[in-house]
């Protein structure tokens, strides 16, 4: 597994990395988890070397001849891809390749080549412009954005970029690792169950019967459309969440009860943790959520009225236009493959005494129970109306809030996570990934690790990323 990634690091870590060609990432016990390699070496030199081994150093005419031969030996479609890679990969080098494109064809007579004179071979480190990152991701720099306060402001002043090779699955050792399936593991699981459609549901709250109604209704519609075995991916967010959100372990227990009580069918549901931190970043984050689920094999995605909507941290208004989340999903490059399923609004029907799709014609019969209201019920020991949530699931929440009051704590501390993903607006093809490192044993990470068992056969610096 290898993916492009950017991580923050502080001055001391930057000095330790120096001009290393590769950087090792170590876990809390000092064990080697992953290696960060240079982008550039991979996207330019390796491409050349792979397809045109003796290219560099040849005369131009000779080079042209060889290029012709190589192209004739390859299929046309492949050829175009190589050209693109060469053309784009070298644009930022000192040398440059110029290719005249007319229509869909490249005219090979009309180019000259200046092979790159120098090829650096180290990971890229550059200043962490926090203001720009925050402004472009959240569309505001106002103080009080939860993820900014948690992860960006305290992060180091440098960014390190490269291609990350993960050597072994990241373990959190919190009893929930069996829920943390990689995209490939999820795809394998869908295959194993013979899914011909996968619909994903993103959430960071307990599942109430309104959610369940929506998911079961989606399955019904997919069956009607002719799918034989649609599988639900219930994909709760597993990284950082706000202090007043229900913590992950409690939510996972609640989700288990929902399946045990038969509100969702265990045969057609896969529960897995999406190990991303919550950014509370509106339309930007919505793309990340959708793209990650495409990578995990979903082809249908249920989207709420105002996905990842947020109040402005300092003004009395929404931070984003409520329609923009859905709009970017329908417009963003790379998301064309996903079928977006609009959320129908569910509410508590006081006549039928169950959660049902809201009917505007008899709006007085419906009761909207927000997340805040639900938490208040659970905190004060008051029961929500019958049929709002299955009893087993509700008990989990009540027990959690009781335990908080016993401990006298306002809320359980959020797990310490190292949440280090950038969300560029153009969303390169990344898979989700996050580290959790206990702060108290960070010092272990400064030891040098021998990584000569890796293919690069070099000793890399071992660095803990903050």
């Amino acid at each position: 597994m290898s993916l492009p990634i950017v991580l923050a690091l502080d001055d001391a870590a930057k000095d330790r990395v120096g001009a290393a060609p590769d950087v090792a990432l170590a876990g809390p016990d000092g064990q080697l988890l992953a290696v960060l390699r240079s982008f550039r070496a991979k996207t330019t030199l390796n491409t050349w070397q792979k397809f045109l081994p003796s290219l560099l150093g040849l005369q131009i005419d000779n080079w042209k001849k060889r290029m012709w031969d190589a192209m004739l030996a390859l299929r046309i479609k492949f050829k175009v891809k190589i050209w693109h890679k060469i053309q784009r990969g070298l644009v930022n080098q000192d040398g440059v390749i110029l290719i005249q494109k007319s229509g869909r064809k490249y005219n090979l007579e009309r180019f000259t080549v200046h092979p790159p004179v120098s090829m650096t071979d180290c990971v890229e480190i550059y200043p962490h412009n926090k203001e720009e990152r925050i402004a472009r991701t959240w569309g505001t720099t106002a103080p009080g954005l939860p993820y900014v306060d948690e992860a960006i402001t305290p992060a180091g002043n440098w960014l390190i970029g490269g291609d990350l090779e993960v050597l072994q699955p990241i373990k959190y050792n919190d009893g929930l690792d069996h829920y943390r399936l990689s995209p490939q593991q999820l795809r394998d699981e869908f295959d194993k169950r013979g899914a011909d459609a996968v619909f994903a549901f993103q959430l960071r709250n307990p599942v109430h019967n309104g959610h369940a109604l929506l998911m079961n209704d989606t399955r019904r519609r997919l069956l009607e459309m002719g799918f034989k075995n649609p599988i639900l991916l219930l994909h709760p967010l597993g990284g950082f969440t706000k202090a007043d959100d229900v913590p992950l372990p409690v939510r996972m227990e609640q989700h288990s009860k929902v399946l045990e009580d038969g509100v969702l069918d265990p045969e057609t549901t896969i529960v897995s943790i999406f190990p991303s931190p919550m950014h509370y970043a509106g339309p930007t984050e919505v793309q990340w959520h959708a793209k990650a689920r495409i990578n995990a094999g979903a082809n249908f995605y249920i989207v709420g009225r105002d996905p990842a909507g947020m109040g402005h941290p300092t003004e009395k208004r929404d931070l984003y236009n409520p329609d923009h989340g859905k709009k970017v999903l329908s417009m963003a490059p790379g998301l064309e493959k996903l079928n977006i399923l609009p959320f129908k609004v569910a509410a508590y029907d006081t006549v039928a005494k169950k959660m049902a799709f809201f009917e505007p014609s008899r709006s007085q019969d419906f009761l909207f129970i927000s997340g805040t209201k639900m938490r208040t019920f659970a905190k004060t020991g008051e029961n929500p109306p019958d049929g709002f949530m299955c009893p087993g699931g509700w008990k989990v929440l009540v027990d959690y809030y009781n335990s908080l009051q016993t401990e006298g704590a306002a809320a359980a501390p959020a797990p310490a996570t190292v949440a280090s993903l950038l969300m560029p607006s153009d969303l390169p093809t990344v898979q989700f990934f996050s580290f959790k490192i206990e702060r108290k044993i960070l010092k272990l990470g400064t030891e040098t690790q021998n990584v000569d068992r890796l293919s690069c056969n070099r000793t890399a610096n071992s660095v803990i990323i903050l």
Copy 2:
């Protein structure tokens, strides 16, 4: 000519527009310039109506049959495009089309259709979230950004979006309109001259001999590459610029002298005004500059060391990483067609007494003359070194600064422009366009215009956009 566009408008204008299906844009004399139409009507209903005239109202089975027939009658490539349009165009409606895509093929058995139940047919008006717009465009919300202060802060609190049909070329009546060629006019001119390569040079400063060296050297390289007739598009920015930049009329006169004096060859150079305001927005703006030149027919684009680089308005640092301008050009979707030509650094060679490409091995022989230094020379009446700029061009600048001192003004007022283009980060295919409206005669714009000569055959509201 028709293009998607977003313009700002104030509360009063918003009320006047109401739920109008189309909105007319009037010029300073009240003459009708353009009509803004609904996006939605164009991208969804019209597409359906065009290819599937009797679609709405049919039963599903009947509909499927007709769809098959329509598809069989069309070429496969065309079919896929239609599908995309239908699929994407309807995602945001109340109804939804679900299409199962496997590989490159659409499986027609697996979909159901809910034709949109309501189809609004008015231009879209929504709140102008200035903070979000500024943050996402500039990567900061710090006070003092020139274009923000000039155009965004004083703009109305609403945005109006639609498809703009321009009825006649916009005239500024400032004696420079013959320089304002539309993208189509530029393409026609390139064809007329038999250009087989067009290389564009973006600038907002007077042309000195270093610029000329670069442009002439580019032409030489293109000839070496086998092009027979490369044409230079000298494309100075014609909209808003900072108060201390040299005003457009002076720059155009200076550019004329550069051609008259033979520094650039009039036979192979087209001088045209790029009527965009300068946003001073770094990497975001660089994409706009490049994309606009693609639309105008350029296939080579000369890019500086730090295109559209800016100092931070309140901190002592660069606002952007100097490499990011070039990087986004090599990565942004939609810019693949353009060949980016890196800027070689030119400086004054004190030995050869002319502008020459900088040679690091004898750096002590070179003198860098910045824009600020050049302006100081011209202001104080001091001559720059021989060979820095052609005498005719230099005289234009000296005369301009003399006239300023005579008038006792610090700088000529910038022309009043209505600079109303949004620059979304995904850069839809837009052509450049801007309005100039004299503020003193704005009131004329409130009169209602009869637009029944337009195809829509409706009377639209006439609105002046601030």
